[in-house]
């Protein structure tokens, strides 16, 4: 069964086309890099899959299901925690997740939090960008779902935190789930990717297996990605 099936997805916002004619089929238990420059539409595509962006045409099915609430139960999206008051302690955020997500695994969260050295007594306002991102990753991975969406998890954080987060992803990603990681700094995530999806000119211009890129093109993922952006590839070449 295909895990994510996107067909003819079009999305406009504020009289501007953000995504057009996006079709994509993802399956297996892979880590997939969603790559594209700033403003390419990576976050929008993730938000459409997660169900927080609306008014798109086309279909997005998760495990053959197109109902919004059922899809939400199958997707764990790295929520930046903007809805919580700055003085909320981490323990309260964790309690919130435990209460509202039936698939939240407290034991798994604790393992992740210990591994990433999160201090639960700290309040959100006191967290550095890196620590906040570690919390977001821990909460996202502690849910037991079929799809994990990590939106730019390494943006603006130091190399030690990056390594810790990458290690936690590799260690705690469930075996049967798909994980999509968006980023525009390809070098950060290239080594852990099984497939790449590249967005350019408001649509998906490439969906390739990472090994295929290395073998067929004799290039690293970063070079392939940069080549696509420099040369220009049309939708037909996918």
């Amino acid at each position: 069964m295909t895990t994510i099936e996107i067909e003819k997805l079009n999305y406009r916002r504020n009289l501007k086309t953000i995504l057009k004619d996006v079709s994509l089929s993802l399956e297996g238990d892979k880590i997939i890099g969603l790559l594209g420059e700033n403003g390419a539409g990576k976050t929008t595509l993730m938000r459409l899959i997660a169900g927080t962006a609306k008014n798109a045409s086309g279909t997005i099915a998760i495990k053959d299901d197109t109902e919004a609430d059922t899809k939400k139960a199958l997707v764990s999206y790295s929520n930046p925690l903007g809805g919580f008051a700055p003085n909320t302690p981490i323990s309260k955020v964790v309690a919130f997740y435990e209460k509202v997500y039936p698939d939240f695994d407290q034991a798994k969260y604790q393992q992740l939090a210990d591994f990433l050295q999160l201090d639960e007594s700290l309040k959100l306002a006191a967290l550095s960008k890196g620590t906040r991102e570690k919390l977001v990753i821990s909460l996202t991975l502690a849910r037991q779902t079929s799809v994990y969406l990590l939106d730019e998890p390494f943006s603006g954080i130091d190399s030690m935190s990056r390594k810790k987060i990458i290690n936690s992803i590799l260690k705690w990603k469930p075996a049967e789930a798909i994980m999509i990681i968006s980023d525009h700094y390809v070098s950060e995530i290239a080594t852990i990717l099984d497939e790449v999806v590249i967005i350019k000119d408001q649509t998906v211009v490439a969906h390739k297996d990472a090994d295929e890129i290395r073998e067929e093109f004799g290039l690293g993922i970063e070079a392939y990605y940069e080549g696509l952006y420099e040369e220009g590839v049309t939708h037909d070449e996918i």
Binding site: R13, G51, A53, A68, D69, G83, V100, P102
Partner: protein
């Protein structure tokens, strides 16, 4: 799927904390005002001064609670943390509105307790006011019918004001999706004013219903029919506004990250 009780509990806890903060601030204001009145030498417990001070500050507390609960309700509609929960928009809408109602009623209960304390301390003045109200009550209905009708009316008007605020917020947010991104904030301010004006213009017809209820209680001699019809009319408006709000949540209202 998230259970209704779970999302309701999660939404309620933050609101209850805010109710405590506002009620505590109100209590401090009552203590300070009472102390100041005593120091000034103008305080007369037997004359119901304490009851008056509590009543005055309670009005402010109710006003602040109303605004705060409206803010909680509206923020939930555009919050990633809330909208990512696996439950349908109808349940989310109902849990959100119910959480605000319950938290507000809890705030009212705290104020009623304060009034009881104030009433007991100024019993003479309080009992005199009560007996005057009892004797002077107008119309053909027993006093309990009047009290119950007024409570129902206040509750329904409160809910209608929240659903109307949601309607204004969600209509504006939905329309904004189809307007140019440039000068979005300025456009939204104008849009809010316009949408508020249009909705309030339509609502002015509806707001005649509460007035009708009050006059029916005072003057009618044709039974409880008109009172009930007016209350049902407000409930119908709440249902219609809620249906529109849920529709917009499903189709157009996105989170603001």
């Amino acid at each position: 799927m998230t259970k209704f009780s779970s999302v309701f509990g999660a939404l309620l806890s933050g609101r209850i904390r805010r109710v405590h903060q506002v009620a505590l601030t109100g209590l401090i204001a009552i203590v300070v005002t009472t102390a100041w009145t005593m120091i000034s030498g103008n305080f007369d417990l037997a004359n119901g001064d304490l009851f008056g001070i509590i009543g005055g500050w309670s009005f402010v507390v109710y006003l602040v609670l109303f605004v705060e609960m409206a803010r909680f309700t509206e923020r939930a509609f555009v919050s990633d943390s809330i909208r990512l929960m696996p439950l349908n928009d109808t349940k989310l809408y109902l849990a959100n509105l119910t959480a605000s109602m319950v938290a507000f009623l809890y705030g009212v209960l705290l104020q009623v307790l304060l009034h009881v304390v104030g009433g007991l301390l100024s019993w003479h003045a309080f009992s005199k006011t009560l007996s005057e109200m009892w004797v002077a009550h107008p119309g053909n209905y027993p006093i309990w019918v009047i009290v119950l009708s007024i409570l129902c009316l206040m509750f329904l008007v409160l809910v209608m004001m929240w659903t109307t605020i949601s309607l204004i917020h969600l209509v504006t947010t939905s329309i904004s999706l189809f307007l140019p991104a440039s000068r979005q904030k300025a456009v939204q301010v104008i849009l809010y004013i316009f949408v508020t004006f249009v909705i309030l213009y339509i609502a002015q017809l509806v707001f005649r219903a509460p007035t009708g209820t009050m006059s029916a209680l005072h003057t009618t001699s044709t039974g409880a029919g008109p009172v009930l019809i007016n209350l049902i009319w407000i409930a119908v408006v709440i249902v219609i506004e809620s249906l529109l709000n849920v529709l917009m949540l499903k189709r157009w209202v996105e989170t603001s990250h």
